[in-house]
Point group: C2
Chain length 200, copies 2
Amino acid sequence: MPNPIEFFFDFSSPYGYFASTRICALAAKHGRTVVWRPILLGAVFKVTGGAPLPSLPLKGDYSVRDMTRSARYHDIPYKMPSVFPVPTQAPARIVYWVEGTTPDRVEAVVLALYRAYFVEDQDISKPETAAHAVAKIGLDPVQALAATNDASIKERLKNETQAAIERGVFGSPYVTVDGEPFWGMDRFDQVERWLARGGF
Amino acid sequence: MPNPIEFFFDFSSPYGYFASTRICALAAKHGRTVVWRPILLGAVFKVTGGAPLPSLPLKGDYSVRDMTRSARYHDIPYKMPSVFPVPTQAPARIVYWVEGTTPDRVEAVVLALYRAYFVEDQDISKPETAAHAVAKIGLDPVQALAATNDASIKERLKNETQAAIERGVFGSPYVTVDGEPFWGMDRFDQVERWLARGGF
């Protein structure tokens, strides 16, 4: 079995959302699967000195414009959320819970949570809202809600974020193919060639 | 006449170099010309809080890897310079001198200076080295050297950098098409569609 593609992302990242809609098709085309790794960019930024894009002088204004334009360019439904960015512990914990219980639903859960935030403008930082979003695709909202407050899942998210930082992850989306790192959906052309040729 | 494409860049920017090798063909394909606008990213970073890529935790290591890989991907000759980044007043001033004297040589001059730095590992921050690089394509090295120390050209570079900041330029390359800004060579697919359709 070839290695899966690791997809690191934060639920508050528009570019992570855009890329999440494309990564599975890209992986499947080359016989790969995807391992979804939600992390907390806030913890990453403490190490890197980074900051949420909209807060940056000049680059912030550009980014907001680029997000909307990039969504149009790639024909991806997108609405800048009213509250942005938001803390993303709740949706990230739900993903790790699903991974441990019904792993074949992880992709659908990631897409449902991202859609709730970036299309339907629902504040998925609230555990109830995140649980409601996955209930719409058939998961148990009571269990989902419980997962957002589960000690071992909290620990898991913390560990995954720390492990990602130790491996050099500094942004979202951040993809690795057989150990080779690619940052941003705008590197998917390079990801594709790497998958096709095993490097270049 | 359609508006020219404005191409803002710093001579110490690998991604600016990569993009410089492609922007003219892209512009010409859509009946446009290019206005070359060398600026000083150091002055920009004072406003934005930005910093040279290699100095950033995690992102720095990735960037160095991405630069080399992106050059291979786009089939552009590239060698990480021994000294990087460098101050870029000298090459930038030479460009503004050429613009005022033999404007049809500007593109060739930009490419020659970039090539000296990112292919031949010559430290173009030194006025003599920058002048030598443009002498190789037929410009007068004595006049080029004088331009790097010319008061009005110094002022021009300062003013262009300030004007760029006021217009929101925060990185390199940064391209505008009819006022629409695009940051990075990885937005050239969007630039192309914008040129073809007049927006999207």
